[in-house]
């Protein structure tokens, strides 16, 4: 399993690399903010560990709730901000 994951890791790296070849300067900030939203995926980690965790201490549960909250902030905040930013580049969309 780990090796399959490793292969997936490498391929994903190449994808990220190949996709962001040349991008116009003005899109740097939205791109940063967009990719930023994507790594909010860590939210899944929080859910899995809390959801499947056996005999977690109260403290651990607390940490995980915070982690999930953090992840959610990253996701929703990230995508919203990116959307607003792009909205600002009016005309660009034309």
């Amino acid at each position: 399993m780990f090796l399959a994951n490793l292969a997936i890791l490498v391929l994903a790296g190449f994808v990220g690399f190949a996709v962001i070849s040349k991008v116009p300067n003005t899109l740097h900030t939205p791109l940063m903010s967009g990719t930023n939203a994507i790594h909010g995926i860590v939210l899944l980690g929080g859910i899995v560990v809390l959801g499947l965790g056996h005999d977690l201490s109260v403290f651990d549960k607390l940490l995980l709730v915070v982690a999930i909250a953090f992840g959610t902030i990253n996701v929703v905040g990230g995508f919203l901000v990116t959307d607003r930013m792009l909205g600002m580049f009016k005309g660009k969309q034309r």
């Binding site: 790296g13 991008v23 900030t29 940063m32 967009g34 994507i38 899944l44 560990v49 959801g51 901000v81």
Partner: protein, 458 residues
């Protein structure tokens, strides 16, 4: 499980497709939505995992996150975007660190945990996540001016201290890896990593922050991928790694655009603005003007090109500028705005500000478009822009900004520069433009200067 994994594949396919969209102006908005949809699917799929319990707490966490995230994202002023991104990025890293911490606790310090790669990945996530969390907080603080934007450095020993702290963090991690389950060790790992985050970002000047944030963004991505490996979660691996890879390249592109090098940035100490010793005027003379003369000069011009820069952002002068432009147009003057790609402190900074002030899109001219026009321009009105107009980038190979493409305002018939003093800009260097005979300076805060010009125009 099968169904969930298929959904994960769909999800990351959407991430990638969305990301591709984000690289083109026309498709960007859609791309962002597509990626968001992918995220929705990923979360949904995760909640379907058989045996998930603790629903109350999970929902609670999501609700808290939404309650905090949505309003702040909706209310933040456009000009405060970079620090907002920093904050969102930081919490992402924080989440990874916390998850690793719990993993440690719930497996009695990985002593129950067989597979090596899980331990390594978790600890990597703990360190990088923590660095990214605290580093991002500093970046936020600096841009939000809760912390002074200028470099805060230990001077010489800085690099050594950083190195030592890093070693300490690694030492704790390795001890854990070797099977020592003491809770102190994970705390040590997290704390030393936190210290590292602070120590690395504090010495970096506020102006370099966009690049730093992008760097931290890539790091968070990597930590997310690591967490994914530890939890054997395909979606996390792919999404995290994509961000890690694309983020690194993006960081490079940004640094290039304002021609700085990543190492130089991380070395820190630069970009506090107004670096000392940059003020040897020599016997060159500066021509000063006043609002009245400036107003007349522009009123009788055929074409005025406004060159906005960081100063306009600081002064929040965009609306006033817009009003002035209106007045000039009523007088039959053609007004255009020259947008330098790295004017301000984040790419697209000027586009955002002027869009906010409802400047008609047709009047915004990209650098390449406008540079040919300056020789046909009567007045170039430089509002708080400095480096992006500095001819040294063209003429002076010794200049730190040499090679950076600039707006050729010096080619226009006359130049009026609005700034508060002779202080240099981000690059901290002299601008010979101010000493050219065709240039006149109108000192003062950009907003008030423009306001008084408006008075005169009425």
């Amino acid at each position: 499980m099968t169904g969930i994994l298929v959904l994960y594949i769909v999800a990351f396919a959407l991430f990638i497709y969305g990301l591709m969209g984000l690289t083109g102006p026309r498709t960007a908005v859609r791309g962002n939505l597509i990626a968001a949809a992918g995220m929705g699917i990923a979360v949904f799929a995760t909640l379907l995992i058989p045996g998930v319990s603790n629903w109350v707490l999970i929902i609670l966490g999501i609700l808290i996150g939404t309650a905090l995230g949505v309003p702040s994202a909706k209310q933040v002023k456009m000009t405060a975007m970079p620090q907002m991104v920093a904050l969102f990025n930081g919490v992402g890293g924080g989440a990874v660190a916390l998850i690793a911490w719990v993993e440690f606790n719930s497996t009695a310090g990985f002593t129950l945990e067989p597979e090596a790669h899980v331990v390594v990945a978790s600890l990597f996530g703990a360190i990088v996540g923590s660095v990214s969390f605290w580093g991002s907080l500093v970046a936020f603080g600096k841009l939000q001016e809760l912390i002074p934007g200028r470099p805060i450095s230990l001077g010489r020993p800085q690099q050594i201290v950083n190195a030592l702290v890093l070693v300490a963090a690694l030492a704790c991690a390795i001890a854990i890896g070797l099977g020592n389950g003491s809770p102190l060790l994970i705390l040590g790992t997290l704390i030393f990593a936190a210290a590292l985050g602070l120590l690395v970002v504090l010495p970096i000047g506020g102006a370099d922050m966009p690049v730093v944030i992008s760097l931290l963004n890539a790091l968070t991505g990597l930590s997310a991928a690591a967490a994914g490996l530890a939890l054997n979660n395909t979606a996390m691996i792919v999404a995290g790694m994509i961000v890690g890879a694309s983020g690194s390249i993006l960081t490079n592109l940004m640094a290039k655009a304002m021609n700085r090098s990543i190492p130089a940035i991380v070395a820190g100490g630069f970009g506090g603005g107004g670096a000392p010793g940059a003020r040897e005027l020599g016997d060159k003379t500066v021509r000063e003007t006043n609002a009245a003369d400036a107003a007349v000069q522009m009123a009788y011009a055929n074409q005025v090109v406004v060159v906005p820069g960081y100063g306009m952002a600081v002064a929040q002068a965009q609306h006033t500028v817009r009003d002035m432009a209106k007045l000039l147009e009523d007088k039959g003057v053609e007004v255009k705005y020259a947008i330098h790609p790295v004017a301000g402190r984040m790419p697209g900074h000027m586009n955002v500000l002027l869009a906010e002030a409802d400047v008609p899109y047709e009047q915004l001219k990209e650098m390449d478009e406008i540079n040919g026009e300056f020789n046909r321009t009567d007045v170039a009105l430089v509002i708080g822009a400095n480096d992006v107009t500095n001819p040294a980038a063209r003429n002076d190979p010794s200049s730190p900004i040499h090679g950076m493409p600039i707006l050729n305002v010096d080619e226009s018939k006359s130049v009026i520069v609005l700034k508060r003093s002779m202080n240099p800009g981000f690059a901290g260097i002299e601008n010979e433009l101010y000493y050219s005979p065709t240039t006149s300076m109108l000192f003062g805060d950009a907003k008030s200067s423009v306001e008084s010009v408006i008075e005169e125009l009425k």
